[in-house]
Every structure is written in C-alpha cells, then in structure tokens.
C-alpha cells in the first residue's frame, strides 16, 4: 500500500473500533491483517479465514510457526479455544449464507454507491478475484481499508468505478489515511478526518460526491 507502519496501524486501529463483542470477522491480507492486534482482549470475536478455520488467534512467536496452520494469506497463525477446522467449501458456505458480520479488505477503487473493484487491472495485473466476491457480496458489513489516492495521486474513491467490479453496492465503510467515510442511502458521507488532514484536504482528494456528515470527528 506504500504507506508507513504507523499509518497502517492507525487505519487498522480505527477499523478495530467497528468490531463489537460477539461478532464473526474475516480479515483480508495487508492492512486488514493488522486489525486483530487492535481489538481489546475483553471483546470476544471469532475470526474466520476462508481457507478453512473459525477462531484464529494472534500470530505465533518466531520459531513456533506451524506450516499447516495459516490464514488465507498464507501467513502462520494460532487458534483460540473453541476453534474448528473445515474444508474451503464449508468456509465459503459460512460466507455465502451471511454469517460473516464484518469483512475488512483492501481495494483498488470504491464508488460512491459502494461498488468495489479490487481484483483486476486490465492490461496490467490480473491476480484473480480469490474470495473477494463472496466476502464483499455476502458479509453483513464490508469495510475497505486503503490509500485515499493511487500512486499517480488520483482519488481511489470515485463516482463510478473504471476497473472491473468485484461486487456492486457492497461497501459500507471506507477507512483511509485521511478519513472515514460511510456509504449510506443518502450517499457517501464523510464521518471522520484523520489529523493532520482537514475536511478540505479530504474533499480535494476525493473524486466521488462526498457529503460532509452532521458531525465530522477528528482523529488524532
């Protein structure tokens, strides 16, 4: 994502606030993986990984990794008490049936109506959709963590996605290094601004029609 560790953790920390007691959460690769570290220990969450485990725990200590125990990104994990293993068809059964309360993933573009594009750059990179279509289309709440702008400085939050879609009208919340935005029936609403950015900075770097929420909080 081309951003420093501090910024990545700041975004992850903000995302962690969305995770309430009792929820089932799926974390994508990249910044989303960091979110788990910011969930307070008194909050009971079951983390789901689509390769086939419910109840993942913290990363193992170095040297204690088990090659047979990884998350969907291939990184070593641990599990918590009450965890279960199953095959990938069962893992996606849980997703399609709507049991994932929150999914947190990255994106190339998000439109103001919540369309998500994160699996293909025509003529350049075609990594494949992996499990993103299911997660974006079926999770109860979809949170995107990403840079506000791309490497050319162009807004990744757009009126209409130019890249092929992963899922239509699926994103509920976008958290970037600059701001927190929510996709609502009334449109895309700016809810919070990350210091040192201002509301004006965010508006200037957002192509989508972004409405300023009644109370825009500032995050230090």
């Amino acid at each position: 994502m081309g951003m420093g560790v501090a910024v990545r953790n700041r975004i992850a920390k903000r995302a962690a606030k969305e995770i309430h007691d009792g929820l089932i959460v799926n974390l994508g690769i990249g910044i989303p993986t960091l979110v788990a570290d910011h969930v307070p220990p008194d909050i009971h969450v079951l983390f789901h990984a689509e390769n086939g485990v419910l109840g993942t725990g913290p990363s193992p200590n170095q040297g204690e990794e088990d090659p047979a125990l990884c998350n969907a990104g291939g990184l070593p994990i641990t599990t918590v008490m009450g965890a279960s293993y199953f095959d990938s068809a069962a893992a996606f059964g849980m997703i399609r049936r709507g049991y994932i309360d929150i999914t947190i993933l990255g994106a190339l573009e998000v439109s103001e109506t919540g369309d998500l594009a994160n699996w293909i750059v025509p003529g350049k990179r075609v990594p494949g959709m992996g499990g993103a279509m299911e997660l974006a289309q079926k999770a109860k709440k979809v949170i995107v963590l990403m840079n506000h702008v791309n490497k050319k400085g162009e807004s990744k939050i757009v009126k209409t996605c130019s890249l092929p879609l992963t899922a239509k009208q699926s994103v509920d919340m976008i958290i970037t290094e600059m701001a927190v935005m929510e996709v609502t029936k009334e449109g895309l609403i700016l809810k919070e601004v990350m210091a040192p950015y201002t509301v004006e900075d965010v508006m200037a770097h957002t192509e989508a029609t972004l409405k300023i929420g009644a109370t825009v909080h500032s995050i230090e």
Partner: protein, 232 residues
C-alpha cells in the same frame, strides 16, 4: 486403470502413482497458497517430465512453492483457479499467451469441485452477478432472483496431501492444510493421497475421517516439503 489398484491395500510407491499422471491430463490438486499441496507428488511429476497439464485448484502457489513449481516450469497449458497473484510467473505466462487461465470466485470454485466430486452437474449461485464473472454463463431465475449456472469440475487425476491414511485410503488432514483437499479427493477419477503417516486399518476414529477411503485409489508416504515457505 482403476481396476488394477487394490482396494484393500492402497499403499503404493511414488513411481507407481506417477504412472497415472500423463502428458495432457487434467490434474486437480489440493492446497491453498501451497499449504496442503503434496510436495513429493509435485516433485515426481517434475522429474517424470509431464507436460501440457490442465491444472485445477485454488491458486497457482508461489514461484517455487506447491503447484507453482509446475506452473513456473511451464508444465501446464491451462489453469482453472480463483487467483494467481502469489505466483508472478503465472501472470506473465498468461500475458504472453502461453498459459490459459480461467477464473472462478473461490467459493464457487470450491463448490464446482465438490459438485464434480459428488456427481452433480453443477450449482447455481448469485456470486458474481453484475460483474464480468457472469460472462458466458447461463442465467437462471428462481423465485424472481437471478443465479448463474456454474458447472461441476472433475479431473482425470486428483492429488491431495493428508496427515494420516490407513491402507483403505481413509484420510484425516492437518488444520488449515485441509482446505481444498477433501473436495479435490472426491473429484478425481483417480485420486492419489500423499500422507505424513500411514496407520493400520482401524487406527483412525471413524467419526473423524474427513475423506472416506472410497474416494482414494492410492496412498504414498511423503518425503516432506522441499520448499521454503514465503514467511520463512
């Protein structure tokens, strides 16, 4: 060829198993980012020089990990997978027109493999509606809601990796190394299981057998992973 394989003692040598994997065949493999992909069978396929494979599995591993080793050395002419991002060689070969790639959403791919394994023609699912994933697929309307008809996948040979097997081919897996393996095991006309341990008949708990031996034709002992994991 299935008939010549014993149903009472399915343990064979690597060489005997690899005989069934031939140029141009459709090969389905277990594993997710290389975790749960059988290393000894992959090495055997490489050593035998098998080429023109059609590969079906979740992903194309990493350049030197799992099925990625076959892709990197251009032993495949086609791949059906949900993503190839972790193996840049796959993307490069695709761009150069030397590797055909068909993508399925990961959960749809899992269900297509399972459908093949349990003798269904396919499934209908609403994942990918409104995206390019619906191109070229039959639409079906049920109770006013649109679904895509996704066809079952089977293979001439399936290769899987398991923790334990008994001589009847009953399998148990190890944590998240299970992933696509139980599905892939069902979908092969011939299924070869590479396992960490071979135990006597009766040693596996009948309640915990993830793949009943009915689906497994051959069992070989693993020589262990011969690659370094990305996180190492």
């Amino acid at each position: 060829m299935r008939q010549v394989i014993s149903k009472k003692n399915k343990v064979v040598t690597l060489e005997e198993a690899i005989e069934y994997i031939t140029d141009g065949c459709t090969l389905m493999y277990g594993g997710f980012g290389g975790v749960g992909t059988p290393p000894t069978l992959i090495q055997g396929i490489l050593d035998k020089g098998v080429k023109d494979l059609t590969l079906i599995g979740n992903d194309t591993g990493f350049p030197d990990i799992g099925i990625g080793r076959l892709v990197t050395l251009e032993r495949a002419r086609k791949v059906i997978a949900s993503h190839i991002g972790s193996n840049p060689n796959a993307g490069r070969l695709m761009t150069e027109g030397r590797l055909e790639v068909e993508f399925s959403p990961q959960g749809t791919l899992a269900e297509r493999v399972r459908a093949g394994g349990v003798g269904l023609g396919g499934i209908f699912v609403d994942v990918g509606i409104g995206t390019i994933a619906e191109e070229g697929k039959n639409n079906i309307i049920i109770d006013g809601k649109a679904y895509l008809a996704e066809t079952a996948l089977t293979a001439e040979v399936s290769i899987v990796y398991a923790k334990k097997a008994d001589p009847l081919g009953n399998l148990v897996y190890d944590k998240t190394a299970r992933n696509f393996n139980p599905l892939v095991a069902m979908a092969g006309a011939i299924t070869i299981a590479e396992v960490e341990e071979i135990v006597p008949v009766g040693a596996l708990d009948p309640e915990c057998i993830a793949t009943p031996g009915i689906y497994v034709d051959m069992v070989i002992p693993t020589k262990g992973v011969n690659w370094k994991w990305a996180w190492e």
